[in-house]
């Protein structure tokens, strides 16, 4: 299940021909811009995949690389280098956007390691169909029913204060559950970053389950917030 990522495929620099790690945007030898590497987002920043990131450092590196890649700097360069500055910038932006956001970063790292996350994975393709958090379903369903009732009452102009209060209470509860999930996720980050293969595999499984749970909760909180207008 744990996919080994080989980001260190050596590639010869187009300009000076010295071999370098595929992940780099600039040749370490001659500093010339390189075509967009086909490696993962972490290695764009010279990082090995990990979940606890130094965000100020990541931002600093993002700005530094953005400046170096800026198309203005390639105005007099060859056609290839011009194109690469655009393509590398796009890659850098994608990588930064994904890595700076904790949930996106976690999902991205899990996908890199073969986890089946996201809408492109139909239930049939899932290796483990028992991923649905059954304890949550009943509650999610009931709350959705209440939300619908609330919206219906709103359209006729007479929202029931009891229903309103119960929804507000539910929102506080689900906000709390969401915090719990995020807290649990962070604990798994640590395990993944520091653990051996067995620890990592178990952390991955736990994180996939936590993210499933989180999706229900965040959808609910979003819907309740929208309906209550708070």
């Amino acid at each position: 299940m744990l996919k080994v990522i080989d980001s260190a495929v050596p590639v010869a620099c187009w300009s000076c021909s010295v071999a370098h790690n595929d992940a780099t945007l600039f040749c370490p030898h001659c500093s010339k811009i390189q075509p967009p590497p086909g490696s993962d987002f972490f290695s764009v920043f010279g990082l090995t995949p990990r979940l606890n990131l130094d965000l100020p450092e990541l931002e600093h590196e993002f700005h530094r690389l953005s400046r170096r890649l800026h198309p203005d700097r390639f105005a007099r360069a060859g056609e290839n280098e011009k194109q690469w500055s655009l393509a590398d910038t796009a890659l850098l932006n994608d990588a930064y956007r994904t890595l700076k956001e904790p949930i996106h970063r976690t999902e991205y790292l899990l996908k890199l390691h073969g986890a089946e996350i996201g809408e492109e994975h139909s239930g049939k393709d899932r290796k483990d169909p028992s991923r649905v958090p059954a304890d949550l379903l009943e509650e999610v369903f009931e709350l959705n029913m209440q939300l619908e009732e609330m919206r219906l009452e709103r359209t006729t102009g007479e929202a029931d204060p009891v229903l309103q209060a119960s929804l507000e209470q539910a929102k506080r509860k689900f906000d709390g559950l969401l915090d719990e999930v995020d807290h649990d996720l962070r604990a798994q980050w640590q395990a993944w970053d520091e653990g051996d293969i067995a620890v990592r595999q178990s952390a991955q499984k736990t994180m996939v389950a936590l993210l499933d749970r989180r999706r229900y909760l965040s959808n609910l909180v979003r819907d309740v917030t929208e309906t209550l207008g708070v």
Partner: protein, 139 residues
């Protein structure tokens, strides 16, 4: 991405939306969810104890248009079928009928899961053993 006409039709005029009495022994309830998107779907059937024919089917889905259309279509298809016949419905049939794109296939899987869960609940209530065929065809 545009929805097919059939999805739009089911979305605008969903068939068989509603609730059946959960406590009735003739009623089976399936509540399922898709972790990919957080959708939840409840599908209920009322089975004639003599003929084992599904006489009534109701659903309530909170989710995207494809999830609503898939469950709406599922209730239409299982109504009038025997429990065993209804088990034969495959998510791929729903995909074909509604022309669902690949990213929405999980909605049809959810509908198939809901049918199976509702039938499973009804069987459990009525002491009907799951047949071996049903077991192996489930995923």
């Amino acid at each position: 991405m545009a929805y097919s006409d059939k999805v739009v039709d089911h979305y605008n005029n969903p068939r068989n939306v509603g609730t059946l009495d959960k406590s009735s022994t003739e009623v089976g309830t399936g509540l399922v969810g898709a972790p990919e998107c957080g959708d939840v779907m409840r599908l209920q059937i009322r089975v004639n104890p003599e003929t084992q024919v599904i006489e009534e089917a109701k659903f309530k889905t909170f989710g995207c248009g494809s999830a609503i259309a898939s469950s709406s279509l599922a209730t239409e298809w299982i109504k009038g079928r025997t429990v065993e016949d209804a088990m034969a419905i495959k998510n791929t049939d729903i995909v074909k009928e509604l022309s669902l794109p690949p990213v929405k296939i999980h909605c049809s899987v959810l509908a198939e899961d809901a049918i199976r869960a509702a039938i499973g609940d009804w069987k459990k209530k009525n002491g009907v053993a799951e047949t071996a065929a049903a077991e192996t065809s489930a995923h």
